[in-house]
Symmetry: C2
Subunit: 343 residues, 2 copies
């Protein structure tokens, strides 16, 4: 047999020995931290190549105090929004040779804090998606987590950069669209009560109600996923509303599915809007009118803010993506009379 099996990973000492130089020279050559005589450098490179040597990231991290890793903490990987954020972040970070650690708190606000703090110790910074954490808890947490970038919520009174979608203006756009279509009785299927993005939507609703007193707006607790929307159908039909603003596309899809089962036509009998513009929204029957949120870009920008912080620049400014109205087939003119509950 040629060449012994390599028992374990080679160390810098192996390379130094083989090249007949000191550890520091090897380190210098490999990191390019100082001038090294070209002859020696060549020897080192050769030795490293022969041994298939690469420096232990662990050991480097320990001494450098830097892991070249960031973590993203999300409440639920299943949620298309966080999934998109992870995707955008992961690609962007990879371009800068950073790695990403993912931590899914499985919706437990309790765990989230602990998880974030523990995860933080394994990396250089945290991208935090914690829509439901009470603001005060969040502010306290932020101190231990630096550097942090927030996604889809802000922490007032701190200089933590945040990358968010402007859910308020997005919902306002949808409300205006429905109003222009002649709807005078609207219903909002609310998401997680205390979540930032739900509160923003409620703010839009409040503004709208004040500006358009002739339009009735009901708020009905619902949820954030398909099943929640599906279960809301009967309540919606009993409400007399001619248009429904679902918390997000998933809820809208669930609702539309249940409406279909009941023979209610969208948009002829009832208009429905979603939120987010998940990939399938445009391909539903009818295509879903929604406010498009560039989730992957949220993740990408979150990385850019993080990269600034890691370069020990001062915190950059928070950035807000304005959702774009996607006026598609699930909304239309208000019917002459409100639909009655079927069945």
């Amino acid at each position: 047999m040629k060449g012994r099996a390599q028992d374990r990973s080679r160390t810098i000492a192996d390379v130094a020995a083989r090249a007949g130089v000191s550890l520091s020279t090897v380190s210098r050559v490999i990191n390019g931290t100082a001038r090294v005589d070209e002859a020696l450098a060549a020897k080192v490179r050769a030795a490293a190549a022969e041994l298939d040597y690469t420096a232990s990231p662990l050991a480097r991290s320990l001494v450098l105090g830097r892991t070249n890793t960031v973590a993203v903490v999300v409440p639920d990987l299943e949620n298309p929004t966080f999934h998109g954020v992870l995707r955008g972040l992961s690609r962007a970070a990879a371009r800068d040779r950073y790695h990403v650690l993912v931590a899914d708190s499985a919706e437990s606000v309790e765990e989230e804090r602990i998880l974030a703090v523990e995860t933080r110790r394994r990396c250089d910074g945290i991208v935090l998606c914690a829509p439901r954490m009470p603001e005060e808890d969040l502010r306290r947490l932020l101190g231990q987590l630096q550097p942090v970038v927030l996604v889809n919520r802000e922490a007032r009174g701190t200089s933590t950069p945040a990358v968010t979608a402007d859910y308020r203006s997005g919902l306002t756009d949808l409300l205006d669209l429905l109003r222009r279509d002649g709807h005078r009785s609207l219903l909002y299927l609310a998401g997680a009560p205390q979540s930032s993005s739900n509160l923003q939507r409620l703010a839009a609703l409040r503004d709208f109600a004040a500006e358009h007193p002739q339009v009735a707006v009901q708020v009905v607790p619902c949820g954030v996923n398909f099943a929640d929307g599906h279960a809301a159908a009967d309540g919606v039909l009993g409400s007399g509303a001619t248009a429904v603003l679902a918390f997000n596309d998933l809820v809208a899809m669930g609702l539309m599915s249940a409406l279909g089962e009941r023979g209610v036509r969208v948009p002829q009998d009832l208009s429905v809007t979603g939120f987010d513009d998940i990939p399938f929204a445009r391909y539903l029957t009818p295509p879903l009118t929604t406010a498009s949120v560039p989730v992957a870009e949220l993740g990408e920008q979150a990385w850019h803010r993080m990269a600034e912080l890691l370069g020990s620049q001062p915190p950059g400014h928070s950035i807000l993506f304005r959702p774009r109205l996607e006026d598609r087939g699930s909304t239309g003119p208000a019917p002459a009379r409100a639909v009655e509950a079927a069945s």
Copy 2:
């Protein structure tokens, strides 16, 4: 102000000093590695609590040779399959107090190798999703990556545990369904040509064609996502087939969307099947007939296999999930005559 701001993270030396004991005692108390006098132990715990001390995972990893982290390497996080795998894996690993590093090779088979090797050094093992890597390259790579668990493909001639879906039997089920519905001219929209899961489907097709010579089966290159399916519509309509087996649900959805635009009715004019049973498949109009693959469970089982390897048990057996046929609305009896291309 009460208490100085803590300049940087506390070390075990700080705790030892405060408790008036040696470093080793602190280590022993914290890890429970040896008996320590209860009085001392209490002092140590108190000191640790006061300083809010937790051991540096980095330093521990370096000395223990273990990071408590595994990496999952995927070709594309956007793909619902890999996304599901990540989700299942992440939750399962978290339960065992393991962290997960995610590496997205952005579809580049070239990068994949390098990425995997580099990522491997930062963790204890790799869960590899590399459907397109040539088998020989894969086998070579496997050596450097140990411990490895493969997802959705096997590496013959190795003992690397694999967790896969049986795409072959899944497609066979779909083929049988269509045949029983009277279809005699089928068309398969193929995925990535060399990917394992595409090859498995082709094998099913081959078997089927041999067993049922009276049924015509065409294979048309297509792709793996929505847009690919959408673009395939005209070719499908010109083919004379009465039923189409899309590579996966995304392709099926794209196709159905394009068919809708052309006024082709599913399943009356044309039956369509997907594969995977992504969350929205059942809510399409019509609901998609497909073969359901439990992606999150794939990830979960991948973790279990990995956990065995990490416990230095011998490699467990590979496991194969049999897709379940979901007979829904997008398939039906073959029309009396094949549809003609519209427009």
